[in-house]
């Protein structure tokens, strides 16, 4: 699969054509500042030149600073989100997200809402939250679960 072609099949993904690798995205990126493994300019460049996606895409904080700064209006953050979807389609859901998906399938929340949480809510005079199985059904129907 050619990542660039896959990206260009989406409206936001097509904007990768605008990128001229100026590095404004990386210059403002909070994750890049603290972690040399992460560099959005390199991620976009690699997709265009080598047609590749690597694990570093999961270090994006999704803060949109890059996208707001981009002088060519390349949708940098949206492109990295699209890359994550392509990654999941190819390699499956990353280990660190699997527990969240399991919780969603079990109760409809990303965390396990148990007796403790609802007892606290009762003490505060708040209504309890209820588990639901509709989200499990949606995940099944759309093929979003762990394969």
């Amino acid at each position: 699969m050619d990542v660039k072609e896959e990206l260009k099949s989406e409206i936001d993904g097509k904007t990768i054509n605008y990128c001229f690798s100026c590095g404004m995205c990386t210059g403002g990126c909070p994750s890049a500042r603290l972690n040399e493994k992460y560099n959005p300019r390199r991620i976009l460049h690699r997709a265009v030149i080598e047609g590749k996606i690597e694990d570093d895409i999961w270090l994006c904080t999704n803060c949109y600073t890059c996208q707001e700064r981009c002088p060519t209006k390349t949708k940098v953050a949206d492109i990295i989100s699209l890359m994550r979807r392509i990654y999941v389609k190819e390699k499956g859901i990353p280990e660190f997200i699997k527990p969240l998906v399991a919780n969603l399938e079990a109760c409809g929340f990303t965390a396990t809402i148990g007796e403790l949480e609802n007892k606290r809510r009762e003490r505060m005079g708040l209504p309890p939250v209820k588990m639901n199985d509709e989200i499990r059904k949606i995940i099944e129907k759309t093929g979003g679960g762990v394969k």
Binding site: P30, S31, L34, N35, Y38, W58, L59, C60, T61, N62, C63, Y64, T65, Q67, E68, K75, A77, D78, S81, R84, R85, V88, I93, P94, F96, I97, L100, V101, L104, C107, G108, F109, T110, A111, I113, E117, N118, R120, R121, M124, G125, L126, P127, P128, V129, K130, M131, N132, E134, I135, K137, I138, I139, K141, T142, G143, G144
Partner: protein, 292 residues
């Protein structure tokens, strides 16, 4: 003015920040706003935005359909839910084919998305729908001794091309909402920075360093407290403050309040009714209540 909303609390709030829910209800009561609970709602679909578009849009549309059934706009408390639901709603309204696809999925759970309501974050409702002037009339306990640092977070304002609220580079809404309580909103370095919450699961070290950097700047600005409008940002700065301290080797001890906790105090609500037992770094109530 609108005074009734469908009310969505998502996942983080019932799990870790019911105090935010509680304080919002106290504030809504003071302002004469009716909030209609959606106890069956569950998750907004945020994580699937990164993994599978159809799962994401269907989960979001399911929540949106619950507000549509009540013929009410949807008030959300979490920046993550705001980004996820606001953008899904916009995308589905603009793409009839996607909407049809989503409705085929929702038919499985007996629901239908129509595209008839709007999604609004609490901060946006207070700033745009209620307005500073109307809030000002309800302030009975001006918090003139308090210096507070506003943290906007990301998905309240961005992507600005879609969300179109306030100015993402130089936002003022939360600062004005802090100042109407009588508190001083202090400026600090790198104010629009992200909390790091989104990378917590993938790389906790980077996330906590990001959290710690901001706490360092807030402390350097001499702020008494920090104010958030997102439960997950709050988790990062409050519940995970110790982890951030371990990462940066500094000590912060900065209480982090959900915005409606601050507003409710200024409206004279008893601190005992605002769930402060769930704030990990406890604020000194003498800051807010005279004669304690």
């Amino acid at each position: 003015m609108k005074n009734k909303y469908a009310y969505f609390i998502g996942c983080t709030i019932p799990f870790r920040a019911s105090n935010y829910d509680l304080a919002t209800k106290k504030v809504a009561e003071k302002l004469g706003i009716e909030l209609v609970d959606l106890p069956d709602a569950g998750c907004c679909g945020l994580y699937f935005e990164l993994m599978n578009e159809m799962t994401y849009l269907s989960m979001a549309a399911r929540v949106l359909s619950m507000a549509e059934e009540k013929k009410l706009d949807l008030l959300v408390l979490c920046n993550g839910c705001n980004g996820s639901l606001y953008r899904a709603n916009k995308k589905l309204k603009e793409n009839p084919e996607l909407k049809d696809g989503v409705n085929k999925v929702l038919a499985e759970v007996g629901r239908e998305y129509k595209g008839t309501i709007e999604v609004k974050h609490l901060i946006r409702v207070l700033y745009e729908d209620v307005g500073i002037e109307r809030i000002k009339k309800k302030i009975t306990n001006p918090l003139t001794n308090v210096k507070a640092a506003a943290h906007y977070g990301c998905h309240l304002l961005k992507p600005s091309e879609e969300i179109r609220f306030d100015d993402p580079r130089n936002p003022v809404s939360l600062d004005r909402l802090i100042e109407v309580t009588g508190a001083k909103s202090v400026d600090y370095y790198d104010k629009s920075q992200c909390c790091g919450g989104y990378v917590l699961a993938a790389d906790a070290k980077t996330a906590y360093r990001m959290t710690g950097e901001k706490l360092t700047h807030v402390k350097a600005a001499g702020s008494d407290i920090m104010i958030t409008g997102c439960p997950f940002c709050n988790v990062m700065y409050d519940a995970n403050q110790k982890a951030a301290e371990t990462e940066t080797g500094q000590t912060y001890k900065i209480p982090v309040l959900h915005y409606p906790q601050l507003l409710a105090l200024a409206m004279g609500v008893d601190p005992k009714e605002l769930g402060f037992e769930q704030n990990r770094v406890r604020p000194d109530m003498k800051l807010f209540v005279k004669g304690l």
